[in-house]
């Protein structure tokens, strides 16, 4: 099985689906040149400028046009250059795409995919670092996925493209070239809505997603050497949440730490903690803990400031030790 970088896996999914679907399009800013991260590299040459469409710098209409394309039989995959720039498109995503089916009583569907690089750790400062997933996971009618491995990146993107409803696909920009792993050639999907058990252990449970899932796994290996055996659950999909997997992982150890780089208040961690409190309270041996970025608007450009804000392997390990000792 060939080893691929996370970014190559995304690229492969796009190419394979474009080959399969003659009405599929990718659209966004700078994508004919391959995009600022080069996800769509070579696609212009392969599919031409009609299907690999450079849009004006206008995020609202990138999504709005995608909705129209999907309404008339196309399969659009829109790229928002950075998740931080999705806010001008929030009306189209929330008021339009998410409600398209509901408000027409299933008269129309809205099968669009919106890809958005997110996340910190690359010195992207306030407007190239944000994690905006919780805001969209809150919205009924949207599916939100956050792959953390090259394998999932390909399989979840294919699932998103084939989904009959709007899917927001967050790809961690620091993961693009950092993560490399085996990715099968050819077709497969990773179903939306299924978490992945990355590690099994009986002492504590760590729940995370995106690049933080890797930090959690590394912290878990560190703690294993100290005799603390952790379960690590990678959510992969934030909407709809895999409640069964969350509850099973929580019940197994009775001690749960949730980790995300999104800021604490109103983050996905709060929802997971509530699910566990409501449905697995009797199985808990400790309060559910959350480790997240502080409630500041976004990451500072200053490196020490960014490191200070972001959860890290060391901070996760410390939180895990404290929880294990509870």
């Amino acid at each position: 099985m060939p080893e691929k970088a996370y970014i190559e896996a995304i690229h492969d999914a796009l190419i394979e689906e474009m080959d399969r679907l003659p009405t599929m399009m990718v659209l966004g800013e700078d994508i004919q040149e391959g995009g600022v991260f080069r996800v769509t590299d070579g696609m212009l040459q392969r599919y031409g400028p009609q299907r690999v469409l450079d849009t004006p710098l206008a995020e609202s209409s990138i999504v709005g046009i995608s909705i129209g394309l999907a309404t008339n039989g196309c399969v659009p995959v829109a790229e928002i250059q950075f998740a931080d720039f999705a806010f001008p498109a929030f009306n189209q995503i929330i008021s339009e795409a998410a409600r398209w089916r509901y408000r027409s009583y299933n008269g129309w569907g809205c099968p669009i995919v919106v890809r958005a690089p997110f996340g910190a750790g690359i010195r992207g400062a306030l407007y190239h670092s944000q994690s905006i997933e919780a805001m969209l996971a809150h919205v009924p009618g949207l599916k939100v996925v956050v792959p953390s491995t090259p394998y999932d990146a390909k399989g979840l993107l294919k699932a998103a493209i084939r989904d009959p409803d709007p899917v927001i696909y967050f790809e961690h920009k620091k993961a693009y070239r950092l993560l490399k792993a085996d990715v099968p050639d050819g077709d497969y999907v990773v179903p939306i809505g299924e978490a992945a058990l990355r590690r099994e252990g009986d002492d504590i449970t760590v729940i995370s997603y995106g690049l933080m899932a890797h930090e959690c796994l590394q912290a878990a290996e560190e703690l294993a050497a100290e005799g603390i055996d952790a379960t690590v659950l990678d959510l992969r999909t934030l909407a709809p949440l895999d409640r069964d997997a969350i509850l099973e992982a929580a019940r197994r150890t009775g001690k749960v730490l949730i980790v995300h780089e999104d800021n604490l208040t109103g983050g996905i961690g709060g929802e997971i903690a509530a699910i566990i409190a409501e449905h697995a309270f009797d199985d808990l041996d400790a309060p559910v803990r959350r480790l997240a970025s502080p409630d500041v608007p976004a990451m500072p450009f200053n490196a020490a400031g960014e490191d200070y804000c972001l959860p890290s392997r060391a901070k996760i390990a410390a939180a895990m030790r404290a929880l294990a000792a509870y």
Binding site: S61, S95, R103, Y105, D165
Partner: protein, 336 residues
Amino acid sequence: MVRARESRSHTAATKLHLAMYRDMLRSRELSDRMFALNRQGRAAFAVTGQGHEAAQVGSAHAIKRGTDWVLPYYRDVGVMLALGMSPYDVLLGLFAKAGDPSSGGRQMPCHWSWPEARVVTRSSVIAANLPHAAGVAYASKLRGLKEVSICYFGEGATSEGDFHEAMNFASIHKLPVVFFCENNGYAISESSEKQMAVRHVADRAKGYNMIGQTVDGNDVIAVHQTTHWNIEECRRGRGPKLIEAKTYRLSPHTSSDDDRRYRTRAELEEWIKRDPIDRFRKRLFEEETLTEEEDAELRAEAKREIAAAVEAAERAPDPAPEDALRYVFAPPPEDA
């Protein structure tokens, strides 16, 4: 123009004129009834477009139904009747009934969706449907289909960013889309001077290298001819168009609005004198397309039709309350 006695032979033109006149009467009658039903406490909300009948009906009769894509806004009762939606179906929406074809009783009245006539669902958010029209039109072009999209909105919508983004994109790609502005001079209470520094909405087209035309929105034949020309130009691949139909809203913005707060009765009276239905009737009489007896019968027929539709729609079943949970996402195949 078809003149005098020739018109009595029911040429295609006279048939069209009579059909448009009938739809204008039905639209006015239905709109008046929807407002009255609100005032009687039988409908929670009404939004209508009395005074817009020439703009709506004239333009909609230029649409190839089932081929062209229509993205109307909440005032477009006349567009929908001209496309063939029945008053009964419109009223199911007014009463939020289960059978409401637009939304199953979910949306406010007149937030149209009708897949079989390619009427695309819309929200209450002004101008949000303009990028949708551009996207639909891009798909038509990409797929090599000879279909045109027409998107309706008021002049207030032209202040929104989505107006600019859609016009810009449509013109860059020479898309088959007609942007149809029903300029009634008011965005709720805000007069045009508060919305734009240009005199005509059509002037905005220049900034996109697009053809923009202003038409007398109270002249149904002028609106029809203008819209027909623009739609067919689009179909021939000549790029997007902006039509501005200048008209006036004779009703308040909605049943919740009191227009006496922001416009004078004298101004309203002036526009009542230019009522597009009265004006068209006069013309049909002059051209001897219509007699007074025929007119009386058409009006009585519209009243009967709407009255019967009100009675039936008000009795139609409500959706089950828990029906509110359906269709957040695509249903599994067995439930579709």
